[in-house]
Symmetry: C2
Subunit: 333 residues, 2 copies
């Protein structure tokens, strides 16, 4: 039954590779601008202001509740464009496939990737596959680069000011815990689903607000790591209110059992926004009116008065959130 | 001595990862448009006609005579833009790093990548790194996407006509054999260097000719595989003259010993061009006046009279070049 699994000959440039590309990649990703015979494709983007980003994906397992490495690659990369204030338009796709991967699983994953891209109106226009030897890959690694068109005003850490409000669009840590439970490494099973999704509706609705300074999707390292980057780059402190940070009960339970802090867990469909405090309520209202933002919350503020990332606890104390050093969860994005 | 090797904590989004990115990637790749803190970067490309491409790299060993996976990634991706008639401008870079890789080796490779990019005037403006567990990667895999500006007229397989001339810019197979000898898998040692290099001077000089139909860098699967794609896509036959195809003597010797056909071996710095026969001599003259093209040759023609990829042998016979099925050489790009 060798035909049901990837072999090294699928990567050699010859017939097997051509058939693999035609039957899986080209079939699912078919669009007018994808030309699998071209070295490079023209982009219909003349006169637009462009944004560019890239991301790699090594999640284990390849399929998990709420997503898979294919949809994750689309969401991860287009979300980076979205939080930078851009509308995603084009993607490139690199697949590093391990010898022995089931072709049926590859087919499911690329179909999922294609469906996710279609749903947000982006086209995969360039691609490449490499097959690596058994034991030299994790089944499948993906890398995607994205090109988008800037909409709205320029955002960035440099725009952030003392007193700005911090909002998050929904509960944190679902993705990290869902992937960890899918690994079954601890014998725990839950009904948690990854939050992996496009944040484009959230970012596009926020861009209408002139006081919006910065957005970020808190992936690797979670909410605490984004706050650290903000602190390190701006020199300003961050004060978070623990009572206001939305965390699902099962996520908190698993964290309590295993000793994880949900503030360091990856999300793949949330946005952290920094905004002029006078417009915080307006953003909260906009987000809560969207299905992706019903649990949005105003979770803290930027403050020149403190020199740390601080968590004001529900019991009235305060705790310094340290920069992440050890690996909290393996291979969640 | 754990500090001299990559650990899983280098991939977790925290301090170790930030230091790795600052000390290796940002240091070597520093340029005004690279912002390691941004999710996506703006591109100064307004009003230009853009081309987009992507490529993955898994070469083993990571360093070989004449190049390494870093310079190969730059040349491979920018060459795809060059043969499509574009001037490369921007690159994104994804690195999949295996736990245990020597940091000194990673540093050499990224320095080499940066030097190659600078030499051809392209900027690496977006990047991402992932660390995979020991035994789940080949030390280092890279994926690069490139954006360029179209110069010259539209090229493509669809432009090719009966009677067109085929030219190659230099000897074929050097890269494939150099990498194979570097693996030492056969106990053979040679003085061969990879041909890995930018083909931009070759493609830019060819673009001045109105009769230029198509260019391709014959990488995976080599010259024969490009001819097969031409045949399959256009329905026209290809007749190659063995006596005119430049092959270095040591490449031919190694092929003779091991039973390889150099026409299927990867090049990483050659161009195959298809051109109106009335301009073939002009192109040959242009290429031979460049250091990259001193050994350029007119090697065959496109012909509607035959339905195969044919090799007219030096002994006066003819041989059909079949499409590649088995893997000729592992992991050469």
């Amino acid at each position: 039954m060798e035909d049901t699994r990837i072999t090294l000959a699928h990567g050699n440039g010859g017939r097997f590779m051509r058939e693999l590309i035609d039957e899986i990649f080209a079939r699912h990703l078919s669009n007018p601008e994808l030309d699998v015979h071209a070295d490079a494709v023209p982009l219909a983007l003349q006169g637009q202001e462009l944004m560019f980003t890239t991301d790699g994906f090594t999640v284990q397992p390849l399929e998990f509740p709420g997503g898979d490495i294919g949809s994750l690659a689309v969401h991860g990369t287009t979300n980076d464009l979205a939080v930078a204030g851009a509308l995603p338009r084009y993607l490139s796709l690199n697949a590093f496939i391990e010898e022995g991967l089931e072709i049926a699983q590859l087919d499911r994953i690329i179909a999922s990737l294609a469906a996710s891209a279609r749903a947000i109106g982006v086209q995969v226009v360039a691609g490449d596959t490499k097959v690596v030897r058994r034991g030299e890959g994790g089944g499948l690694y993906l890398a995607t680069s994205g090109i988008g068109i800037r909409t709205g005003h320029r955002l960035g850490l440099a725009q952030i000011r003392d007193g700005d409000a911090l909002l998050v669009s929904g509960p944190v840590g679902d993705h990290g815990i869902a992937v960890m439970l899918a690994r079954e490494a601890f014998g725990l099973h839950g009904e948690l689903h990854s939050d992996a999704a496009s944040v484009l509706p959230l970012t596009q609705s926020a861009l209408g607000l002139s006081g919006l300074r910065f957005m970020r999707d808190p992936t690797r390292g979670g909410l605490a790591t984004v706050c650290h980057e903000l602190h390190r780059t701006t020199g300003l402190g961050v004060a978070l209110q623990q009572a206001h940070i939305p965390i699902r009960e099962p996520v908190q339970s698993v964290c309590d059992i295993l000793g994880y802090d949900p503030l360091y867990l990856a999300c793949e469909g949330r946005v952290l926004a920094v905004i002029d405090p006078s417009q915080a309520d307006d953003l909260l209202h906009r987000w809560r009116s969207l299905p992706e933002g019903v649990a949005a919350a105003h979770i803290g503020q930027v403050t020149a008065a403190r020199q740390w990332v601080l968590l004001h606890t529900e019991l009235g104390g305060e705790r310094v959130l340290e920069e992440l050093e050890d690996d909290p969860l393996p291979r969640i994005c």
